[in-house]
């Protein structure tokens, strides 16, 4: 029997965007983005006459304690239910069962799986369409390989709904870790996965598919490009997956080479073609961009000043906001280099070559590099960061050391003028 369903994950409703120094005017767009993306998913279910919707965990962040997120989720699912579309939900590490308020009433047409594996048979017009199995996270940390609890129980197309880290993606916490081999041979036709925010399709040897639909709304620059959910067509027991863009604000990482650019003011002219290219994306309502300045050029010295970059950010943020569609500037990152040849400096000898040698030595000695953070000033910094839950600077030790070395070398060999 032919049917289709929609698979989404990691909605993170009402979770904030990371790193945007937005002013009040932009808050509306940023607050609504996750909600609007989810609304598009529900619209997709209705317009494509989907039999059901699968939500594979992390519907919201429990630590956000957002009532709006729960209400919006409820409202949209009621809309689906009213149209006869069922919803199947598992909770993930960000919205575990333990973080849910007690006493929430069950809604018709909405099935939330518990901490034990459950199975529901989807029936339409008196015919059994498929079986949906699922497990929710009881609490935030789940180190068990939950995939092993799944398995076909009847001769129906079987879907497994799970929030898990398939293949140990380093970019995400290693919750419910599993491998492709763990998923193979369990008689599951479609593994509806969540947790990894980048969409992916893994074809299993037993003919099944394991699919990450991606998160529907990127919330920082590392989640750039189109964000999607999966629209799955099932015919004769085979699933065919297509991804549909639903993001409301799209992230872009723009890079700008400063070579040959005569002035800071002229940088915007160089940026303009990339900004115009954003209009070619018809889906999203707005764009969020990080502009990284790189390359070697005469502007390097000016851009090395924090005040210059902050002023540039203010000017660009205002200019981008008034464009159509609106563009929100996350930040301007400076990765420029002075016009100098490090190899030549090393060959020339002298003090700079000694600094270069020291840098190289540290690059090849991780332990020694880690030891640099025993410096009392850095210890004090790290303590202050930890107190407010911020990441340690030591996580980017290589990059920071490179910045430090290049800055020192620039300063040492800077022209006297």
């Amino acid at each position: 029997m032919r049917f289709r369903f929609v698979h989404a994950a990691d909605l993170h409703l009402d979770s904030p965007f990371r790193g945007i120094a937005a002013d009040r005017r932009m808050h509306g767009i940023l607050h609504d983005a996750t909600f609007r993306a989810f609304r598009r998913i529900v619209d997709l279910c209705l317009s494509e006459s989907a039999a059901f919707l699968l939500l594979a965990g992390d519907l919201f962040d429990a630590r956000d304690r957002s009532v709006r997120a729960r209400l919006a989720l409820d409202a949209e699912l009621v809309r689906l239910s009213a149209a006869g579309v069922q919803t199947f939900i598992v909770h993930g590490n960000h919205d575990p069962l333990s973080g849910q308020p007690q006493g929430a009433a069950a809604r018709p047409g909405i099935h939330v799986f518990g901490a034990e594996r459950g199975e529901v048979v989807v029936v339409r017009d008196g015919h059994e369409l498929c079986a949906v199995q699922g497990i929710s996270y009881p609490h935030e940390r789940v180190e068990e390989n939950l995939a092993q609890r799944f398995g076909r129980t009847r001769e129906l197309f079987t879907v497994a709904l799970l929030h898990a880290n398939l293949g140990g993606s380093a970019a995400h916490a290693n919750h419910a870790p599993c491998t492709v081999a763990d998923l193979t041979g369990r008689g599951i036709d479609y593994w509806a996965l969540g947790h990894v925010h980048t969409r992916a399709v893994h074809a299993l040897q037993d003919g099944g598919l394991a699919v990450y639909p991606g998160n529907p709304q990127g919330r920082h620059v590392l989640e750039d490009g189109e964000r999607t959910c999966a629209l799955v067509d099932v015919e004769e027991g085979r699933a065919r997956v297509s991804f549909v863009g639903v993001d409301d604000v799209r992230w872009h990482a723009l890079r700008l080479d400063i070579e040959g650019v005569p002035s800071v003011e002229a940088l915007f002219d160089v940026l303009e073609p990339q900004l115009q290219a954003l209009s070619a994306h018809p889906g999203p309502r707005a764009h969020a961009v990080r502009v990284t300045l790189h390359g070697r050029g005469a502007l390097h010295r000016e851009l090395a000043l924090r005040a210059t970059v902050e002023q540039l950010e203010d000017q660009w943020r205002e200019a981008l906001w008034t464009r159509t569609p609106q563009v929100i500037l996350e930040s301007v990152q400076v990765q420029t280099r002075a016009q100098r040849d490090l190899a030549a400096l090393a060959a020339e000898g002298g003090w700079v070559s000694t600094v270069l040698a020291e840098w190289e030595g540290l690059q090849h000695s991780p332990a020694e590099l880690r030891g640099l953070w025993d410096d009392p000033d850095l210890v004090r910094l790290e303590r202050a960061l930890r107190a407010v839950g911020l990441r340690s600077t030591a996580e980017a030790s290589d990059a920071i050391l490179q910045d430090a070395a290049l800055r020192v070398i620039d300063a040492l060999v800077e022209d006297d003028a």
Binding site: I20, L30, R65, R68, T354, I400
Partner: protein
């Protein structure tokens, strides 16, 4: 690498000077402002580029003059010419060539310089006192150890500044404690936001509690409202019974009354009497209408017969209509006939008058005159021929005049050229050009002669200078008589003492005499050696001078020979030109020859012009004759045309003197008048025919009227009156016919009405019978009695229904049910009592429901507020923003702190690996410079440690306590140590020093120069000085001394 030669084209005050340098020790000597510092800057500029525009070190010369120059470098077995000149960029245009002159890439220079940077070169390899003192400046600014780096390592000079910049940059971002630095502020704000979020608590749990509470309240409220609704329903039922009590009593009474009537009366039609009366009235009305219609029918039939008797016969009507139609056909014609006839006659008179104005004679024969289109076309052709002939003649006359002018112009030019030619010189051009070449050669010989005379004078002066003896031969050294005489005296004293027997004195004197003699011998020998060397040098210089004298004399002889040859040629040329006066200036002669040449060229040009004029003149004369012939032909043609025109006019009785255009107009006018006159005559003939036709029609109509019985006495022959009479007769006939048709229609209508009324009367009779049958009566009386009884029963039933409505409106149920309940409740009293009880119960339940609803509203409002509250989202967004900013600042802080750590680690690495060797070398050099006064240098790795020296006695002295000269010797020692180190690691480069020893005492200066001389064995040393005593010291070390005087470019060397 070394510098072999310096050539300055233009640089500051230096212009077009060059210096040749030796591979080892060189000294450029010059007074103050001789350009030594400029030369130091020049070497730096050629190797590394001109300083930026506007800089004092640029030494740019004014635009237009050459800027820059060349350095000849050699090293690694090759030579390189480095040239730098003014270019588009501020550093100038660099070009490199090898020893063969082939262009070389810029990398060749970098290779020769061992990749050394401009900064390092200026700090360490080519420095003056100011750069030397920079060590001292650094030592004052920061630690001595830092300054040591500055002295020895490229880039380390900026170390103190860099450290300071990193320290202040990191402190501007973050500090321990509650500081106001941006990172501190961001972290504090972040903490506050976090606390605020914590204070908000677990909002979803709170929201869920509210949901649960709201749900419980809704359930309670629903049950209360349900009970309330039941009570209210019972209350409403009882209240209805209470309000319907009076109706219920009346209803009970009337129901009993109505039961006494015949039940069939309920079905008696209430309008039976009305229907009976209506039917009977309708029958009576039909009867009346039938009688009236019979009377009207008889009257109509009589009227129709009367009218039919007054109608005309059909044939009479036809004849009358035809005659009248014919006369009316001519109606417009007969009415306007008179006016049109008068108008035509007036028009003919006007045309006659118009023709008479042109010519009286033409009035009678105009209609027969030939002025038609053919005649006018013939006249147009005749007139055109006349015009063409006239125009042709005028054109031919104009052309004849133009050709006559051209012929006269050519004759005049021929005359002027002939006159000018007769006045010009007749010598040929070729001969005059030969004379001009000879005159030019004569002038050039005069100039060469003057140059030869100057060269000869210069050579004679040089010969004279060489002929002088510049220095005398060294004199023979004097005998050391001053020692020989005392020696002889001592010897004599020794002999005397021996003779006197005093052996002790004799021995003393003898030894003394012997010593003196040996000393004298040694002195003489050394003097002879010095003399021999001086003599050899003198001889060498004298032989070189002789060779130079011979060369100058040879060149002088060659110049004399060239002058003699020149004089012979001059004489030959004067003779050829025929100039006897030897004083005549060659320029004047040349001018005369060139003037004659210009005249000869003009004569040739005039001859060519006369030849060119001959042919055009012949052609011009022929053209004039042809024009004359064309004028005559045109005149003949015009006369023929005039004759033809006269013939045309005479034939039509017109004057042949009329102008052609006037004739054309007259012919057109006559043709128009002739056509108009013919049209008027035609119209008058048509009018006569119309008049006859009208008369015929009128007679026919008159006859028809008479036949129809009308008298014609009143009308006579007036057509108008006749037509009116005929029309009246026909109209009367038509009206009578219409009246007959109307009467027939009326009769038909009356007959139809009588038939309809008969049918209605029958229907009314049938209806009355049916009515009686339906109510079961036989006549009108019975009908009226039964109807009255039925009306009484209906009145009572209506009252009963009113009470029923009242009851059912009050209790909202069937009257019978309400009556039963009422009876059950005990009638009016029972109902009132139960009603009071229920009202008390209801009030209590309403109070409870209101309380529940209010609480539910409050809970719903709180829940709605929580659902719409975006504060949590705002806090989270602000947290993310602040977190990102704090993270970026933390990264900046960590970067700067790591920069400082990196510098410290590199510093330790340097100190551990390289400093000891460098320090040892510097200590050895410092000991050599100070003649062993100090023997060691101490530098601690501690950042704030002082630079110390150890003297020969082992005392440790702070460098700050040393004299300025000694400190500068210390810094020089460090630099020399670095130079040695660099040369050992990469290769030698030239060392350029600009008077760095001015604060040294002579002994230390000598030591310093000795160190440099020793260093010059490995790498080229170029020193600048303005002090003669320094020059002597350098000379004593075998330096090549070069006069650095930009006024000239003489090079002097001293062995």
């Amino acid at each position: 690498m070394r510098i072999d030669r310096i050539r300055v084209e233009g640089f500051g005050a230096l212009s077009q000077v060059s210096y040749t340098l030796a591979p080892g020790l060189n000294l450029l000597e010059g007074a103050n402002e001789a350009g030594k510092s400029t030369l130091l800057a020049f070497i730096r500029a050629v190797l590394f580029g001109f300083a930026r525009k506007g800089s004092a070190q640029r030494y740019e010369v004014p635009e237009g003059a050459a800027f820059g120059g060349e350095l000849w470098l050699s090293g690694a077995g090759e030579r390189l010419l480095v040239r730098r000149a003014r270019g588009r960029r501020s550093e100038g245009q660099l070009s490199l060539r090898n020893g063969d002159g082939a262009p070389q890439p810029p990398e060749r220079l970098d290779a020769l310089l061992h990749g050394v940077s401009q900064r390092l070169f200026e700090e360490v390899f080519a420095f003056g006192l100011s750069e030397l003192a920079s060590f001292e400046g650094l030592a004052r600014e920061g630690s001595v150890a830092d300054a040591l780096f500055a002295a020895g390592f490229d880039g380390a000079r900026r170390l103190p500044k860099v450290k300071q910049a990193l320290e202040s940059a990191s402190e501007s971002v973050f500090k321990g404690g509650a500081a106001k630095q941006p990172l501190n502020l961001a972290l504090q704000a972040l903490g506050q936001l976090r606390a605020e979020r914590q204070a908000l608590g677990d909002l979803p749990a709170r929201y869920q509690q509210l949901v649960d509470r709201q749900r419980a309240l809704e359930d309670g409220l629903t049950s209360v409202r349900h009970a309330l609704a039941e009570r209210e329903q019972a209350h409403q039922a009882l209240l209805g019974l209470h309000h319907a009590a009076a109706d219920l009593v009346a209803w009970e009474r009337l129901a009993a009354a109505i039961a006494a009537f015949d039940p069939e009366l309920a079905h008696h039609p209430p309008d039976a009497v009305t229907r009976f009366e209506l039917e009977r009235g309708r029958r009576d009305e039909v009867e009346g209408r039938l009688a009236q219609a019979q009377v009207l029918l008889s009257a109509a039939e009589r009227s129709r017969e009367r009218i039919v008797g007054s109608l005309l016969e059909a044939e009479q009507v036809t004849t009358l209509r035809a005659a009248m139609a014919r006369l009316l056909g001519w109606k417009e014609s007969w009415r306007t006939l008179g006016d049109r006839r008068s108008a035509a006659m007036a028009e003919r008179r006007a045309l006659h008058a118009e023709v008479a104005r042109l010519d009286d004679a033409l009035v009678s024969r105009l209609e027969t005159l030939d002025v038609g289109a053919a005649a006018r076309a013939a006249w147009a052709a005749c007139s055109a021929e006349l015009n063409d002939a006239s125009r042709l003649r005028a054109d031919a006359a104009a052309e004849r005049a133009q050709r006559c002018d051209r012929r006269d112009d050519l004759v005049e030019r021929q005359r002027r050229a002939s006159e000018e030619l007769a006045g010009l010189c007749a010598v040929p051009v070729a001969a005059l050009e030969q004379r001009r070449r000879e005159a030019q050669r004569l002038r050039d010989l005069g100039r060469e002669d003057a140059a030869l005379n100057e060269a000869r004078a210069a050579l004679r002066r040089e010969l004279e200078i060489l002929g002088r003896d510049p220095e005398s031969a060294p004199s023979t050294p004097a005998h050391p008589i001053a020692l020989a005489v005392p020696a002889m005296v001592a010897l004599l004293l020794a002999v005397g003492a021996l003779l006197l027997g005093d052996h002790r004195i004799a021995w003393v004197c003898g030894i003394l005499a012997g010593s003196m003699l040996i000393a004298a011998g040694i002195h003489r020998r050394r003097t002879q050696v010095v003399f021999a060397r001086a003599r050899a040098a003198f001889e060498s210089r004298r032989s070189a001078q002789q060779v130079q004298t011979q060369a100058v004399a040879q060149r002088l002889r060659e110049l004399d020979h060239r002058q003699e040859t020149s004089e012979a040629e001059r004489l030959r040329l004067r003779e050829a030109l025929g100039v006897r006066d030897s004083e005549a200036a060659p320029e004047v002669l040349l001018e005369g020859v060139e003037q004659s040449l210009r005249q000869a060229h003009r004569r040739e040009a005039l001859a060519r012009e006369l030849d060119a004029l001959a042919d055009p003149l012949v052609r011009a004369k022929r053209d004039v004759e042809a024009a004359e012939a064309r004028v005559q032909a045109a005149t003949d043609r015009r006369m023929a045309a005039e004759h033809e025109a006269a013939t045309f006019l005479t034939a039509r009785g017109l004057s042949p003197r009329l102008r052609a255009d006037a004739v054309t107009a007259l012919l057109a006018e006559l043709a128009r008048l002739q056509q108009s006159l013919r049209a008027v005559s035609h119209r008058m003939a048509v009018l006569e025919q119309e008049s006859e036709s009208v008369e015929t029609a009128r007679a026919e109509l008159q006859a028809a009227c008479a036949q129809a019985g009308a008298g014609c006495a009143d009308t006579g022959t007036d057509a108008e009156a006749l037509v009116v009479q005929a029309q009246a007769m026909l109209q009367g006939h038509d009206q009578a016919e219409e009246a007959v048709r109307a009467e027939a229609t009326r009769i038909e209508g009356l007959e139809s009405q009588i038939a309809g009324d008969d049918a209605i009367r029958a229907a009314a009779d049938e209806a009355l019978r049916t009515l009686f049958d339906s109510v079961g009566v036989k006549d009108e009386a019975q009908l009226r009695t039964r109807s009255a009884r039925a009306a009484e029963r209906a009145r009572i039933a209506q009252q009963l229904e009113l009470h029923r409505i009242g009851i059912e409106r009050a209790v909202r149920c069937a009257t019978e049910v309400a009556y039963a309940r009422w009876k059950d409740a005990g009638g009016g009293d029972g109902v009132a009592q139960r009603l009071a009880e229920l009202e008390a119960e209801l009030n209590s339940m309403k109070t409870k429901a209101t309380a529940l609803a209010e609480e539910k509203g409050a809970v719903a409002s709180e829940r709605e507020r929580l659902g719409a509250d975006a504060r949590v989202a705002e806090i989270r967004l602000e947290e993310e923003q602040l977190g990102a900013r704090a993270q970026a600042l933390a990264r900046t802080y960590a970067r700067d702190r790591l920069g400082l750590i990196l510098l410290a680690r590199a510093r330790r690495r340097y100190e551990e690996a390289q400093q000891p060797a460098l320090l040892r070398a510097a200590a050895a050099l410092f000991a050599a410079l100070t003649g062993g006064r100090y023997r060691n240098v101490l530098v601690s790795a501690e950042a704030d440690a002082d630079l110390q020296v150890v003297d020969a006695a082992g005392r440790v002295v702070s460098a700050e306590r040393l004299s300025r000269g000694t400190r500068e010797q210390l810094y020089l020692a460090f630099r020399m140590a670095v130079l040695e180190d660099f040369a050992a690691r990469k290769g030698p480069l030239p060392i350029v020093l600009d008077d760095v020893w001015v604060n040294f005492d002579p002994q230390r200066a000598r030591s310093a120069i000795a160190v440099l001389a020793q260093r010059s064995r490995a790498q080229q040393v170029i020193a600048f000085t303005c002090h003669p005593w320094v020059r002597e010291l350098f000379v004593s070390q075998g330096a090549q001394v070069v006069a650095a005087d930009h006024a000239g470019d003489l090079i002097r060397s001293s062995a």
